[in-house]
Structure formats: structure tokens, C-alpha cells
Symmetry: C2
Subunit: 535 residues, 2 copies
């Protein structure tokens, strides 16, 4: 379709003068309105005023500018079926509409008053855009300055026309534009009436191999406009990413993204079972692995700093004995150094991903549950206080970094969650965790049994007996609970295993009994005031 007449009416004027020059180069007549016309005229570009087409004056404080039998007919008539009728009615075709709408989003973001919001609801713009889009078989519609360049290439290549494919693409963009526009208006008006509604748009749906299981089809979408999500991962090597990979990656990157230093998380079934943070990345990986060396088999491993060759050599991917090579599913880090990548490529299936999780930003979580949507603030506050509630000598300040590490761990583990954390030099690490249990005592048992295995791995029988070694190590760890203890039984269990310090939110009606038990057993107990359930 050769373009002969174009209507330009934009609120966002970026790029419009350059576009108009391109159109003029192809001898296209330009029709324009108000501010757009002024911008073009100021740039020395000749423009027909819209009223010469509408045959009506601009009226009612600008509320009526384009809407008219003539303009919408010029956009809507079928160039084949209706051409004679158009001629009889004196309608000349308009072949291109360049239009973006009154900036309702911008005035909303500026907290404009209600009347200003209403005045910024565009009526003429959506009408033109939608009319042109409906008739995309003949008419081109541009709704975003970002599309001008592509359009310019398109008409330059063809000497002034556009292809059906291009027009169809722009039509689709146009309806997305008006859908976004009215979605925001509807949501705003609901909220102005005291009703909460939410309209979410997802795009770029990618078909995954399957869902959680092979008999479930699945797709992944990007939330419209959201940056730094798993959609922006760069997969440098390995097999296609699966649905379960995404869930595990989420568990892993959330576990490390707020930690200081070089952090490493080992995740299985979306729970971190190993986690460490310190000055040395290789050491962090070794300690994270030690958190649960059995479960680490087939795990997802995330780092919050650029991944080095020294670190990844821990996986022994070129070990002469294939059974000694550490099998993992995914490695993810903000950057993968070239020599590290080369080494990781020794495993042809291993997914190696660059993704800067430290740039992720989330104010709220959304959860779809069987047709309802739950929305909540993201769980960001680690603690409200660190209150020593027992009669004991314990330096909160000295232990604060370890407690903060542990709270970050526990908030990323599914409830009921217990974790046991420790430190050596400036490294923090998870010794063991218990997750997803209906009974908190079982989580504590699981965490302690993992912690024992962790300590066992460091044990050298030539230097000490295990009991002495264990007692010496366990006394310095901290056990952290995601929620309060309803009874003293967890404290008794922890104390019987040599644990000396427990951190929990507090707030149970049995707090006094729990604290009394701590005092009797010589346990330090710290209340944080903040629960960290996660389901």
C-alpha cells in the first residue's frame, strides 16, 4: 500500500519531526492537530490542519479535534469494496496514522487530581488508532516512537509503502496499546471508587518443554514492562531451561541476591540446602556444597558475583573417574568469566546462565491459587529488633552479621523452616536446614542431623575424638526458626545436641515457658519480632 496521506497526532513528540521529514521525502501529505502541528510547522514542515479534513472546528476546549465522519471514514472504508461509495461521499483515504495517546499514565504517576486524570483520558486518539488498526489491510498505524525506525526502513525499502506483515504487526501493537491504556484507566477508576482491581499483562510467551511434569504443557511469559527477570537470562551453554529450573533458579537467586560478599546457594526442589557467603568464592561453593552433599547432586547453584575458573574447578568436570564429576543442573551468576565458561562446557548438558540477580526489584509477590489472586508485599524486613530475652552473656553486635545471614537463609526456606548457621573467619555458612514440615520439631531434627553431617565432614580422627570436636563446633552455631516455638520441646532438642544460641520471632503465648527452659538449659535466645513464613 503506497502511503499518500498521513495523520500525525501525538502526545509524546519524540522523533516526530524526523519521521515527518521522512514522510515528506516520500511526498506524503501530512495532516495534523494542535501541538503536533505546531512542532512540525516550527520545524518548517508543511502540514494540513485537521479541520480542513474534518470540516469541523476544534471545539469544547480541545475535546473535539479529530472525531468526525470524514476522518474515521478515511481510515475505515474498505479500499476495494467501498471505494466507489467513498468517492461519492467525498472521502479521501488516510493511509497512515501516527498517534500516541494523552499521557494518562504520566499524570497518574504525578498524582494529579481527579479532574486532571479525567481530562487526560483520550477519546479521539483511541478512536483513530483503533479505526486504522481495524483496517490494517490498507492502513498503517504507529503508536510508539520506538517503531518509527522500523517503519522508516520499511517505506525506504519499498519507495513509500508498507507490507501487509508490517501493518499486521503494527495493528497488533495498536490494540495492545489501547488495551494497556484502558486497563490503566479502569484500574484507576476502580481505585477512585474504593475498589481494588488489578490488570496484568504478560507477553512474549515462550513454550517450555513441559511443566512440572512431562504430561503438563507449559509456557513462560514476561510481565509487561518488567526488566531484570528470568526473561533476561543469558543462557551461555547447555540444555533448554525447564519449568522446574525456573522455580529452582528463583530459590537460588533469592537466597544469594541480598547477601554480602561472595555468596553461593545450592538449591534442590526450590529450597536452599546449602548456602555460604564470604570473601572467597571457591570457599563459599565448598561450604555450600557441604551443607548437603547428597542433595547437591542434580542441584541448581547460584552465585552473586562473577564466577571464576578457580571456583568451578571444584566440580571436577574432567575427573578421570566420571563418577567423581559433580553432576549439577544449572549454574547461574551475574557474569561467567571466559575461562570458567570453557571449563563448565566440559559438561554438555549443564545450563550455564548469566543473570544479574542483584538488579532484581520486587515490591510485591503475586500468587494464583485456584482462580483467586493473592498479592502481598515482598518479605524484605529481616528483623524488627534483636532482643536477648535470656539471662546470659551474648554479644548481639558481634553475632549480628551471622544472625542476618541466618535470617536471610530462613526466609528463603519453605515453612516450617529451621536453619543452623555458623561462621569461620569471615565466612558464613548453612550447616543444615529442615523445610516444609507440618511439625516444627521434625524440621529441627532434620536441621540438626544435617548439621552433624556437616561437622563430620570437617572431622579428622587423627586430631581429636568426634564428640569433643562436635561439641566444640556446635556451641558456636546459631539455630534460627522462621516462626515462634509453641512449646519448649524444640529448645530441649537443640540444647540436648549442644546448640547454645537460638533466634526466633517470639510472640507465642508459651514464650515464658520457652524462655524459662532456655535459662535452665543455658541457651541464649534472641527475639526478632518478625516471622518469616514462606509457603
Amino acid at each position: 500500500m503506497k502511503i499518500k496521506r498521513a495523520l500525525l497526532s501525538v502526545s509524546d513528540k519524540s522523533g516526530i519531526v524526523d519521521l515527518a521529514k521522512v514522510l515528506k521525502y516520500f511526498d506524503i501529505e501530512l495532516i495534523s492537530t494542535g501541538g503536533t502541528k505546531k512542532a512540525l510547522t516550527d520545524a518548517g514542515i508543511e502540514v494540513t490542519d485537521i479541520s480542513q479534513v474534518t470540516k469541523n472546528p476544534e471545539a469544547f476546549g480541545g475535546r473535539m479535534k479529530t472525531i468526525s465522519f470524514n476522518v474515521e471514514s478515511a481510515l475505515l472504508f474498505d479500499r476495494e469494496r467501498d471505494s466507489q461509495e467513498a468517492q461519492l461521499l467525498g472521502i479521501q483515504p488516510i493511509d497512515l496514522v501516527v498517534c500516541n495517546l494523552y499521557p494518562f499514565d504520566k499524570v497518574l504517576a504525578e498524582s494529579a487530581d481527579f479532574d486532571t486524570l479525567i481530562e487526560n483520558i483520550d477519546i479521539g486518539g483511541p478512536t483513530m488508532v483503533r479505526a486504522a488498526a481495524k483496517n490494517f489491510k490498507y492502513v498503517t498505524v504507529l503508536t510508539k516512537p520506538q517503531d518509527y525506525e522500523m517503519f522508516t526502513k520499511e517505506i525506504s525499502a519499498s519507495g513509500g509503502s508498507t507490507t501487509y506483515e508490517f501493518r499486521k504487526r503494527m495493528m497488533t501493537a495498536a490494540f495492545n496499546h489501547t488495551a494497556d491504556y484502558d486497563a490503566l484507566i479502569a484500574q484507576t477508576m476502580d481505585s477512585e471508587s474504593g475498589n481494588y482491581s488489578l490488570r496484568l499483562a504478560f507477553e512474549g510467551g515462550t513454550i517450555l518443554r513441559y511443566g512440572e511434569n512431562a504430561h503438563q504443557n507449559a509456557l513462560m511469559y514476561r510481565m509487561k514492562g518488567k526488566q531484570n527477570t528470568y526473561f533476561d537470562m543469558k543462557i551461555l551453554h547447555g540444555k533448554e531451561i525447564s519449568y522446574n529450573n525456573i522455580l529452582d533458579i528463583s530459590g537460588a537467586v533469592n537466597a544469594v541476591r541480598e547477601l554480602p560478599g561472595n555468596a553461593c546457594a545450592v538449591v534442590k526442589h526450590s529450597n536452599p540446602c546449602g548456602l555460604s557467603s564470604g570473601i572467597n568464592q571457591r570457599k563459599a561453593l565448598e561450604q555450600a556444597w557441604q551443607g548437603d552433599p547428597i542433595s547437591a547432586f542434580g542441584s541448581i547453584i547460584a552465585f552473586n558475583t562473577p564466577l571464576t575458573r578457580d571456583t568451578v574447578e571444584f566440580f571436577e568436570l574432567n575427573h578421570a573417574n566420571p563418577a567423581k564429576r559433580k553432576f549439577i543442573e544449572v549454574v547461574i551468576a551475574p557474569r561467567i568469566e571466559e575461562d570458567a565458561l570453557q571449563y563448565l562446557q566440559l559438561n554438555k548438558n549443564l545450563r550455564v546462565i548469566e543473570f544479574d540477580m542483584t538488579k532484581m526489584t520486587f515490591d510485591f509477590d503475586l500468587r494464583f491459587v485456584d482462580g483467586v489472586l493473592l498479592q502481598q508485599d515482598t518479605d524484605r524486613m529481616l528483623y524488627e529488633k534483636l532482643e536477648l530475652v535470656t539471662i546470659s552473656e551474648f554479644s548481639k553486635d558481634k553475632n549480628r552479621p551471622l544472625i542476618e545471614f541466618g535470617l536471610n537463609v530462613v526466609k528463603n526456606i519453605k515453612s516450617n523452616a529451621i536453619c543452623i548457621v555458623g561462621q569461620n573467619d569471615s565466612n558464613f555458612y548453612l550447616l543444615g536446614m529442615g523445610a516444609g514440615q507440618p511439625n516444627r520439631l521434625i524440621s529441627t531434627e532434620l536441621a540438626i542431623s544435617k548439621a552433624k553431617a556437616f561437622i563430620q565432614a570437617d572431622f579428622n580422627e587423627q586430631l581429636a575424638d568426634f564428640e569433643t570436636f562436635y561439641a566444640d563446633k556446635i556451641k558456636d552455631v546459631i539455630l534460627i526458626s522462621d516462626a515462634f516455638f509453641p512449646f519448649p520441646d524444640n529448645v530441649e532438642l537443640a540444647a540436648s545436641q549442644g546448640i547454645r544460641t537460638i533466634v526466633q520471632p517470639g510472640g507465642s503465648i508459651k514464650d515464658k515457658a520457652v524462655i524459662d527452659t532456655c535459662n535452665t538449659l543455658g541457651i541464649n535466645m534472641i527475639f526478632t519480632g518478625i516471622r518469616h513464613f514462606r509457603h
Copy 2:
């Protein structure tokens, strides 16, 4: 605002004749178009043709009917600021628009061809509706037949006018209508271009007391148009429903909704820790409770059949010793019989909910993960086959109902999941489960330890010694795994505890070693071909 002129142009004609009669009663002039005009004229109602207002002919196969300077001016001009200008331009106000749009949704549902879809994109309708809505300070807009009754009351009460509040409400409904309309068009056009997008609308947002934790604000929304969701729960008694209640309720109702007979689930931290199904509801509750009597404290309990007094008396809510009263958070059933409700009200906090979970229908699950959306088919297929892979005598047909019960349990437990199920008479029950572990062997250990406690609860030391009793009970249970066994260790553990039958998907490269171990240890093993991961 006294209504003097109304424009009626509807695609869905239900109720339009009655509405027109009401308008006529208040001496309101009716302007109308095409099919709507015919319907009204056929009913003997006098109508002004739209072309008398537009001063234009209907043109281009109906694409141009209403769009005109005159109609949109009549809707849009400010009745105060612009009244003189309107008079000069000969514009008479239109005070009411009744309009619903070309049925794009209907033709889409009928799998119409692309041209028909395009022809069913309404241009004039949304323009009128949006213009009227923008000028709601003066103009009333009705976009749904369901609103006619409310409108009729409104103008009847006032003698022919509407209130600002009513017009604002209808304005909000109108922008929701056009937002929905363009959302569907945009999504459809994306899909026509081979792009997958999703636009979801949620409404009726209710503020919850808080989210998963007290420092997180939260809301619950209904997915637009979705029926039989937690939004439709009838809360007959007790405290406000919390965010975590919804998650637990989902775990509980999904566990029972597809089970035969009288089923009961006891859920804690969204995993069923007790589950039973049989001919007697009270018995089902008792057995479900026995699945984990410790965790049942503070649990959510769901039934799939009307809840009777006999059943709920199990909770002993009027026990003389308050410590013997069973503390639970939520009871939910399709119906609560009156005397059962009376009994449950003995606990003033207990949430008692009527909700028919058997009517829930879901084709897909949505999961929002840090800014991306995962969509997958709901996990509905229990098994692809029941293949006995060991050399053993085992009747699949006799055991099919129990295996189906167990697969339904395991698919509702978070992975790694192991469950142990049994039956007596025609009752099926869960003896123990292990959930959410990074290491499957730990899940098996947890499930076995719970199963032992379950059997212990039935034990009477006057009749037998425990070992004999246990061995006799455990030999008939079935252990079910949500995914394949990567090694024979789980089989060895199960066999050492007296378990004789194991059901799992199969598909590991180690299947042969696993089967060989079963044959050596005299274990029946069934492959289902279907994994049931759930995270």
C-alpha cells in the same frame, strides 16, 4: 442530571425493549441505530434514527454509523463551560448512552475466521462509551444489561435523572468494559501473529489482615468471570480468613475434591498430613487425624461431603478439660448441617466455611515467579499405566482403588513426596507422608516414621506384641513416590521396615537396579509412567 435524550445501540439486545419503555415513560427521546432501532420499532417504540443526529448516512457496510462530530460532541461537551459553544454549533446534548459492543468474544469462541474477527472489532461503540464515560459528570453510560434494573430504580426514584455516584459507578464499569474488550482483541491478535500473550483481570480486591507474615500487606482478588473460587466461600462462623488460610485451604480442598466417598484432609503448612476416604465421614476424620495427630493441632480440615454433627463431635469442643478440645483453624465442606454448625460454634474463633470444592474447574495453573509468569496444564492424569515390573504375585485390579487414592495424595504433597497408604474395609487412608525434602530418602524416612506412629495408635498391647502387630499391618500398605528412584536405597529402606508394595513412575536410568533389588527383597513394584512433582 435530568435525562432528555438517550442513544441506544446494543449488540446484546436482552432487556433493551423494557429499558426503552422505561425511558419513554420519562419522556426521554430515543436515538438508535440499525438492529437496535428495528427491535424497538418492532415493539412499537418511537425512535429517532441516528442519521438525523449525525447528519451523515450510514456508510461502508455499517462501519460508519455513529461516529460523527455531532454525536461525540453531544456526549463530550462540558454542560457548564461549553454550553454556549454547543448552542452556537447546534449541538444538543445526549445524556444517556446504552451500548454494548460487537460480540468479539462470541465470534472468537465460535472459532470464526480472521476476517470475521476483524469485522467484529467495534470502533463506533467504544468511542461512544468512552466519550460518555469521560463526561460522566453529566452523562450516564450503561454497558451491561445487568445494570438496567439498577438504572431503572435510579431514575424512578428521582423522576428521570441519575446521581453523580451512579454515573461514576457506570463510568468505572464502562472503562472496565472497554479494557476487557481491547484486552481480548490484543491477546487474540498476538496469538494470530504467533505470539503468546496473556491479559488477566482481577477484581473485588479484599484487604486481608496481612500476608504470609504480619509485616506484609496483602489483598485477595477474584479472577474476572471465574466462578467457584475461594471468593465464593461462605464463612458461617469464626475469625476472618487469612492469607495463609487460603494457601492451606487450597491444599486441603484439592486433596479431597477428586476423591470418591466421604473424604477428609488434614492440612498443615499447605501439605496434607492426614487424609482418608470411605463410606463413613466420622471414620474418615478419625483416620485423617491419626495420620499426624501432632501436626493436626492448628490444622485446616476439609471434607468433600456435607458435614454432620456426628463427625464434628470428634473435635470434643465441649470437653470438660479444655486441653482435650481439639484446636483447629478451619473446617470447610460443601455444606455444614445446622446441628454440626451449632456444635462447631462452641469454638468462637474456628472458621467454619461452606464451599463446594467439587465444582472447582481448572484447566491451568498460573505461577508468578519474580516478574515472570509460568503457565501449565493442571496435573490431572493420575497414571498412564499400572505396570507390575517385578516377578511377584500382586493383583493390580484388586489394589487399583488404593493406588488411585495414593496417587491422588502424592500429587497434592510438595516434592520430594513419599506417601504410605492403606485400607481397611472400604476406607482408604494415609499412614504417613514425607514432603518438601531435597533428598528423597529423607522423605521416605519421614513417611515410614509417621506410618509407624499411625499403626502404634491402633495397637492394643493386650492382644499382641507390637512387632507382630506392626508386621501384619505394614505388609498391606503401599508406598508411593511422586518421582522415580535414582537408586535402590529407598527400596532397601522400605523393605527393611516391612513394606511390600511400592508404586512409582519409573523412568530412571537405574530402573533395572531398582527392580532387581525389589526382586531380591520380595517387593512388588508398579510403574505408573506419570511423575507428580509439585513445588
